[in-house]
Amino acid sequence: MINYLPILALFVLAIAFAFGTILLSHLIGPKNSYKEKLSPYECGMPPVGNTRERFPIKFYIIAMLFIIFDIEGVFMIPWAVVFKRLGMFGFIEMAVFIAILLIGLAYVWKKGALEWE
């Protein structure tokens, strides 16, 4: 576990640096705010409507597909580490796994989930 100590130390440094500089510049910088400055930027016009609008469902589908494919990718990494020891058997096993993955991709593709109109 001692190997991970530098990572923890760097994490503390990163947090201290990030929030430290934000706080410091907040304290040092001028404060001269008025209503127009604090309103959301919309090219100089008064903001119209609510920001929390509906957004295309495409983004949701992409996020869902990402989770599925990312988990498949995570399965491949331990396999890759012992790839040589597993030999031909391991490769064919993974080829079958990837084939199933590709069928999934083909299905998603055919269904039009990857189209952006």
Binding site: N3, Y4, L5, P6, I7, A9, L10, F11, L13, A14, I15, F17, A18, F19, T21, I22, L24, S25, H26, G29, P30, K31, S33, K35, K37, L38, S39, P40, Y41, E42, C43, P47, T51, E53, F55, K58, F59, I62, A63, L65, F66, F69, D70, G73, V74, M76, I77, A80, V81, F83, K84, M94, A95, I98, L102, L105, L114, E115, W116, E117
Partner: protein, 329 residues
């Protein structure tokens, strides 16, 4: 134990400081190179050859007014820029800048940690960076920010897949996840040769991950003003820039380690070789920015899912063939 902690802390501050300095000058180099590629001199007023420009920029950003919009979710709005920076800094922990050198009679490695899951750690930590962006877009309560944040997160997670699959090829050849072991596995031939397709896929996906041209739609200034950081000012804005440029350094470091043989090279010391290769990759990214126009968003997503993803999976299946050809099997 005390000695270990002191060495660790010194190394941490030296690496952090060196990366910060390199990063500020990469911003200048980028503006200069882009300038010369467009036949104009770039920044040249502050100091000789514009060398003090990054420092002037830093001071300016630091002294600017810190605006928090009325409608913004205040806590998230403040945390988001820090969340963009912290993962970027944390990836630096496992980048192997050079092998052990002797300083004052002690063997000191020029990297902070060599964990046996190195590459997995980088992959895990760097993907946290997307939270900073999506939260920044969401908490600003501005339409440009929200759209920029959404676009950016969809783009980053799409290209992360291809990036992960491209890595599998390297891991198959090196049989290890440790960054140092991956460099040692490239004693004979750099992985860019047997993993050439993997290299192209990785660097394309990495440029998309970094939201850089030609994949910089989240910041597409002609349609979204500045994307997810439209509402940010002062040092909070600078956090996103710092995060982006530190990410450029760490991605270049990863490419150097995985595909370009890391610190190995003749005559010059290993650290110098690592920096030369790293800066060459940085230059390549700037060159790409000067060369290519921006994608359209549907082209971007189509390219990621229909070209890069199948190509990266094909690369995994082809890797054993390349391993056979180059005598790894």
């Amino acid at each position: 134990m005390t000695e270990f902690i002191i060495i660790m802390l010194v190394k941490m501050f030296v690496i952090f400081g060196a990366v910060m300095l390199t990063m500020t000058y990469i911003t200048l180099a980028e503006r200069k190179i882009l300038g010369y590629m467009q036949i104009r001199p770039g920044p040249n007023r502050v100091g000789p050859w514009g060398l003090l420009q990054p420092i002037a920029d830093g001071i300016k950003l630091f002294l600017k007014e810190d605006i928090i919009p009325d409608k913004a979710s205040k806590v998230v709005f403040v945390i988001a820029p820090a969340m963009a920076l912290i993962p970027a800094v944390m990836t630096l922990a496992v980048i192997p800048f050079g092998p052990a050198v002797t300083i004052m009679g002690r063997q000191v490695d020029v990297y902070m940690a060599d964990v046996n899951i190195g590459i997995l750690y980088i992959f895990a930590v760097s993907s946290i960076g997307v939270y900073g962006i999506v939260l920044a877009g969401w908490s600003s309560e501005s339409k440009y920010s929200l759209l920029g944040g959404l676009r950016s997160s969809a783009q980053m997670i799409s290209y992360e897949l291809s990036m992960g699959f491209a890595l599998v090829g390297v891991i198959m050849m090196s049989q290890s996840l440790s960054m140092v072991k991956i460099i040692e596995a490239q004693k004979g031939v750099w992985f860019i040769v047997p993993q050439f397709f993997g290299f192209i896929i990785y660097i394309t996906a990495a440029i998309a991950e970094l939201n850089r041209t030609p994949f910089d739609l989240p910041e597409g200034e002609s349609e979204l003003v500045a994307g997810y950081f439209t509402e940010y000012s002062s040092m909070k804005y600078a956090m996103f820039m710092l995060g982006e440029y530190i990410n450029i350094i760490s991605v270049s470091g990863i490419v150097t380690t995985l595909y370009l043989g890391g610190w190995s090279g003749p005559i010059l010391p290993p650290l110098a070789w690592f920096m030369i290769k790293l800066l060459a990759v940085v230059f390549f990214m700037i060159w790409v920015r000067a060369t290519y126009p921006r994608f359209r968003y549907d082209q971007l997503m189509t390219f990621g899912w229909k070209v890069l993803l199948p190509a990266s999976i094909a690369n995994i299946l082809l890797t054993p063939v390349f391993m056979k050809i180059f005598g790894y099997l």
